[in-house]
Amino acid sequence: MNFSLIFQTLITGLAIGGIYSLMAVGYSLIFSILNFSNFAYGMVIMLASFMGYFAMSKLHVGMGIALFLAMVGAGTLSFFNERVAYSSLRKRHAPPLYFMISAMGTSIFLENMVYATIGSQYNAYPQIFAVPTIKIFGASLGKMDLFAIIFSIIAIYILNYFIQHTRTGISIRAASYDSTVAEINGVNLGAVIGLVFILAGLFAGISGVFLGIKYMAYPNMGWITNKAYVAAVIGGLGSLPGAVVGGIILGVLESFVSVYVSSTLRDVFSFGTLIIFLVFMPSGLFGKYLEEKV
């Protein structure tokens, strides 16, 4: 066994896992409050990736500012995604299927809008580190990977603190359990849902830029963002710790399969895992609801 290769594979896996976690957290936030999978979220991530790309290659700003711009842009986009595509359904108490259809429509629209305006080519981000790797324990590790791991941890830690300890955070958790009672307790549900979409958008911004740096920005990036959905299902849709754990498991699994089995089989393993979870453990590792006692 080659220790440095295992270490290197692990770090790469953790970096991808960190990005999957960010995306899965966004999915899960929205799922937990509206109870449907927002497939338009992948397009918000794709557009964030383009925002980061244009900021860096056309405005020539550094990665930090590009990240900031992409977060603001994706947050705004995500907010309007809800106001335009879902809020009227919500007010009419439409079943989740209607939300999914609206999400798919939004998703198709956004993807094709990018094809029509920007084009279908792959857009590589400018180089970020002059020397992209560093040597640790004989393993050659991507600096961007390490940065992605650290940044993901910080972002998720801040979000978790906000959700667990602030008044607004508690009201988000309350509304995700029982939105009617939350309203009776004085929670302005429309505002809370808007905030949840903005938070999910901020995470889309971070993951969009990281994905773009790793894999380039292109209109059908959506297939990668489906991995976020896989991660969310593994962890248990609607659960934030589940999203993080699911993302990391998926990232590390993929990275090891690519290195030790075959990179062409990588997606077979990921989507195979999705099917196994959907069949045998549909509520994932950390299901959403604690049982209610009557």
Partner: protein
Amino acid sequence: MLNIDQINVFYGRIHALRDVTMVVEPGRVVSLVGANGAGKSTLMMTIAGVLKSKTGGITYEGKPLEKEAHRVLSQGISLVPERRRLYANLTVRENLLMGAHLRKDKDGIQQDMEKMMNLFPIIRERLKQYAGTLSGGEQQMVAIARGLMSRPKILLMDEPSLGLAPLIIQQVFDIISELKSQGMTILLAEQNAFQALEISDNAYVLETGKITLSGTGEELLNDPRVQEAYLGVKAKAIEHV
């Protein structure tokens, strides 16, 4: 004073409340008695702003009630919903904080939290536990405390005795008497007619969406129709007819 004037509420095509008119005066305990499906919860949810009436209106202190649930609370009307509906994924303490969601006075909230723990000693022991792990009776105490945390002027209580053991039901009614003696205005929906009527100043009987009887608690307790239908007393007067 809460004035409900000729409201009609529909669930799709089902006419759930028909021309319901009632009054809740300050400092009084008013109970709403009726069987399952009579419309008690519908009325409670309508007052709380969750359901909308098609015609008629509700006013509180002369002003029409707000249309949205989260604004109704800011007018001082707080609902303890049927089946408790605690946030099972939140701790007991967080459930109480949710009750005080609209308040900004941190010290006041802390004082009220302390008050609730004195009123319901079980809350002190369970403060850090998830609400979903509590027994039904404990959950009811937390639900009432959560309803009180907003410092309401009117407390709406929807079937607080539902699904509880007799001993716990007695505790719930003791709490209601205690709140009454503190001057709280309460609108109480109950199937448990006898105990509800006993502590009520006024009461209404709701049957298939309509108010069929009203009066003081005592009048209804002694009304043969109420005794027959809700108290399990076979009225002799009717037997002889």
